[in-house]
């Protein structure tokens, strides 16, 4: 802890639909100690300089999930982002609303789509009437089964992952990292009796739209690691019903290519992903690739030593991952 203060510059996104025709940035300068959280600084600005600055906040201890925003272009909780490191790295603190959600005012966004995706995964235990909960006592669950939830119970629904996610930006139908991490939490819950149904339903409903960029895991303030849980869901979905979607067929085909020949054969991968007839739909894209890379039409070959790759795959994944 230190008493030294720094003069910190805040460039804060301001937009009030009733009075502004376009967003603007307002600069504030405050003397603060380097370990002051951005939230504390914003509340000081509200109290001392400008009470019209609008944001969501509540617990100030990273447990309520209210104050996620863009701080120097990263989706963060304002309450646990310290000013010192931001000033050192960027020379100022740029504060903007979260992405992928429309701005209502200043730093407050409309979270309707985020909550809708959460509701769509049906976030509640589904029970089979034939297998009710034990009467009058808690379900038995071992510590290892609790570990099976990984870090998903820590999720505070702050939407930092949703804000950071390029797949959400590209496709409004993508459930987003939080909803999928929540789905994982129910798929591994020993009390839930709809595991297979949940996996079968998510496979054609956005699971494979994840771009595997891991920006959600980087953004998550509670280390929930949504991208890793999405990967787990993909493996479990394939284990339950095989590869039924372009995304899952692409993933399985990719692996088959490598195991068989040690080399990616794009023609084969496209056929595996889309089917022989479906390939026709990819003709335009194929022509573009062919112009730049004519060797895609060469006869497939097996590279020397590819059997070593097979051994690596066997060692990594001796048997297909069990579904729940």
């Amino acid at each position: 802890m230190s008493e030294d203060t720094v003069a910190a510059t805040f460039d804060v996104y301001r937009y009030d639909p009733a009075h502004d025709t376009a967003p603007r940035y307002q600069r504030y300068t405050l003397n603060v100690s380097p370990h002051t959280p951005v939230l504390t600084a914003l509340l000081r600005i509200r109290a001392e300089v400008d009470p019209s600055l609008t944001l969501r906040y509540s617990c100030r201890s990273a447990i309520c999930g209210s104050c996620a925003m863009q701080i120097n272009s990263k989706s963060r909780l304002a309450c646990e982002t310290h000013i010192g490191p931001e000033m050192a790295r960027h020379g100022r603190v740029v504060v903007e609303p979260m992405r992928n959600q429309p701005v209502l005012r200043d730093l407050v966004v409309d979270q309707a789509s985020f909550w809708r995706q959460y509701d769509l995964i049906e976030p509640h235990l589904k029970l089979d009437p034939a297998h009710p909960m034990p009467e009058g006592k808690a379900t038995a669950m071992t510590p290892e089964q609790v570990d099976g939830f990984k870090e998903t119970p820590r999720c505070i629904a702050c939407a930092a992952c949703y804000s950071a996610c390029p797949a959400v930006e590209a496709d409004a139908e993508f459930p987003g990292p939080m909803a999928l991490a929540k789905l994982y939490r129910f798929v591994v819950d020993p009390r839930d009796q709809a595991h297979q149904d949940r996996l079968v339903r998510i496979q054609p409903n956005g699971l494979w739209l994840c771009l595997r960029c891991h920006l959600c895991t980087e953004a998550c303030p509670k280390d929930v690691r949504p991208s890793e849980r999405i990967r787990d869901l993909k493996e479990m979905a394939i284990a339950v019903q095989g590869a039924t979607e372009h995304g899952s067929r692409h993933a399985v085909g990719f692996k088959d290519n490598i195991v068989d020949r040690g080399l990616l054969n794009e023609m084969r991968l496209v056929r595996q992903t889309y089917g022989t007839v479906g390939m026709l739909g990819q003709l335009g894209q194929g022509l573009k690739v062919w112009r730049k890379k004519p060797e895609i039409l060469h006869k497939p070959r097996r590279i020397e030593g590819s059997e070593e790759l097979e051994k690596i795959y066997d060692a990594l994944d001796p048997a297909p991952k069990e579904g729940p």
């Binding site: 230190s2 109290a47 617990c59 447990i63 976030p123 009058g136 808690a138 038995a140 510590p143 119970p153």
Partner: protein
């Protein structure tokens, strides 16, 4: 005008549980909340929820510990009901989907907590509130009800001697709306932000308590304010009692485990009021550490080992690292008490009924009273669920037998004229400044140790702030998410409640539980084994007193 049968104000654990009970009873229900339900302050509860489910434990011991913890001013009949409901309540929450920590045999894991005869605090790591909040919200999500999210209830409307509905501000549109209701349940949590140094969220501003008080409800035992012994120094962020339950030590600057002087039998696991006073006394006697953010003592977890600290106190590790810049695995945590909990609140019985027909309350907003003068750790989460359910059942039954509410357009106009006046002033008081001065006043004059001179000075200052508040001014001209207006509404609510706390504390010339008068250091059962009831009048709170519910536990001196 919006109409519902039962309106629940607040969507933390108590509000949600009340709503679920009212839906189960077949009523049409709306929840009005200023936060998304998953952002409620219930989610910040860390340590656990008490239920005497262990083979060596008993419901009777839980009752006794709670009665003793209350310093014999908790209602014993209500406490008996409360402790008997504990086991079934925890099981129900497990069945709803809550993910609890487990013992190796697959049963619910339990840890020791202060003031408890056995380890009976069931937990989910150190985020038990979050786990319960998720479990309950996800269960409630399967039911039909209306959610008014980010709406602030400003008034409870009473006419012809019964509740007719509420007035609320929709933050997003900036419009006030009247919501007619046959029954209203106040479950808005505490008003911890009356104090500057508090573990409570910024949203804990006592809105529902103040609205009920304004509407004629009695506020009970408001002078009993709990200070949690271990909060981080600068931020006031809570470090769970579970940290001591897992074996943490408190040490002063001389390296002594000073609790041996104050609670020779249970040391760090004495009741919260005892430990908080011990820390303050150590510091006052010159045994504290001194740093840029004031004086403090050390909470040590280092001897517990990295594995235990990081698995059972995972969030605590994050809090220490992010908010204090220290690693509890290798370094002591600098701590000092902070306001944490209000034992008082809207006066109810164990069915959640207030003195106003149609008005119910539960959770920290309410006072049954089961906590009396001092709440035990692990009893507050349980209270939200046990009495949330009871309030929901009672509100539903009342609504089923009630005529249509008589809420009028005039009610909305009457309530909002005041707020319009705040925005039309060209000069006036800034709500943030008033709030800060109120917090400084309460920290300084109405803290852990109290005396007549301080309380009189505190009262004088709070009343001066109330006068200045008459001229409060809202400068933000926008309707959308006008936090400036909300600051003013909340500050007005808190000033009313601050006055009730100080008046009650001044009148209670004894020391009991969390209420410590240095000028009256002894408990005085002959005069003061009774509840304070405060009713709003134009001159301020009018105090009357009510007897304590008593069954079989004789008052004894409290030794830990």
């Amino acid at each position: 005008m919006l109409r519902h049968e039962v309106v629940v104000v607040g969507a933390g654990l108590a509000g949600q549980r009340a709503a679920l009970a009212a839906v189960d009873a077949g009523r049409e229900v709306a929840i009005v909340t200023k936060l998304h339900p998953l952002r409620s302050h219930s989610g910040a509860a860390q340590g656990g929820i008490n239920a005497a489910v262990g083979a060596e434990d008993s419901v009777d011991t839980h009752i006794y510990d709670t009665v003793k913890g209350s310093d014999y001013i908790g209602d014993q009949d209500a406490i008996e009901f409360f402790c008997k409901e504990a086991g079934p309540t925890v099981v129900e929450m497990e069945h709803f989907g809550t993910i609890f920590s487990r013992a190796p045999d697959g049963s619910l894991a339990r840890r020791a907590f202060g003031g408890a005869g056995f380890p009976r605090t069931i937990y989910a790591a150190d985020r038990t509130g979050l786990a319960l909040l998720q479990g309950l919200w996800e269960r409630l999500g399967t039911e039909q009800f209306t959610l008014y999210q980010e709406w602030d209830v400003t008034n409870v409307v009473v006419r012809d001697g019964r509740v007719q509905g509420v007035v609320a501000l929709d933050r997003r549109r900036g419009e006030f709306e009247a919501i007619a209701a046959k029954a209203v349940v106040i479950a808005t949590g505490p008003a911890g932000r009356i104090y500057g140094r508090t573990t409570n969220a910024h949203s804990c501003t006592g809105d529902g308590i103040a609205a009920a008080y304004e509407a004629g409800a009695f506020l009970k035992d408001m002078e009993f304010v709990q200070f949690h012994p271990t909060a981080l120094l600068e931020s006031g962020i809570l470090i769970t009692e579970g940290a001591r339950g897992e074996g943490g030590y408190l040490r002063n600057a001389s390296g002594d485990r000073f609790m041996s002087k104050y609670a020779p039998h249970v040391l760090e696991l004495a009741s919260r009021d005892v430990v908080s006073r011990a820390i303050v006394t150590e510091v006052q006697e010159g045994h504290g550490f001194t740093g840029p953010y004031g004086q403090y003592v050390h909470l040590e977890l280092m001897h517990l080992g990295k594995e235990k600290v990081e698995s059972r106190l995972q969030e605590i590790c994050d809090y220490c690292r992010h908010f204090a810049g220290i690693d509890p695995v290798t370094e002591p945590i600098p701590v000092y008490p902070a306001q944490h909990y209000m034992m008082g609140g809207v006066g109810t019985n164990s069915r959640g009924e207030t003195n106003v027909p149609g008005l119910y309350s539960a959770g920290e907003a309410a006072c049954v009273s089961i906590h009396g003068a001092n709440r035990l750790g692990g009893n507050s989460l349980l209270e939200t669920l046990v009495f949330g359910k009871q309030a929901g059942i009672a509100a539903a039954a009342y609504a089923a037998g009630s005529p249509a509410p008589d809420l009028r357009a005039d009610d909305l106009d009457a309530a909002t004229a005041l707020f319009r006046a705040w925005s039309s002033r060209s000069d006036g008081e800034d709500p943030s400044t008033l709030r800060t001065e109120m917090q400084q006043t309460m920290d300084r004059y109405v803290g852990i140790y109290r005396n007549e001179a301080d309380l009189l000075e505190g009262l004088k200052r709070i009343r001066a702030l109330k006068q200045r508040f008459e001229k409060v001014r809202v400068v933000d001209p926008s309707r959308v998410f006008n936090l400036n207006l909300i600051d003013a509404i909340e500050t007005g609510h808190m000033l009313e409640l601050a006055e009730v706390i100080v008046v009650g504390a001044y009148a209670r010339t004894e020391s009991r539980g969390a209420h410590s008068r240095t000028d009256y250091p002894k408990r005085d059962d002959a005069h003061w084994m009774r509840h304070t009831l405060a009713k709003k009048t134009a001159e301020g709170p009018n105090l009357t007193y009510a007897p304590v519910g008593y069954t079989r536990w004789e008052p004894k001196e409290r030794v830990y």
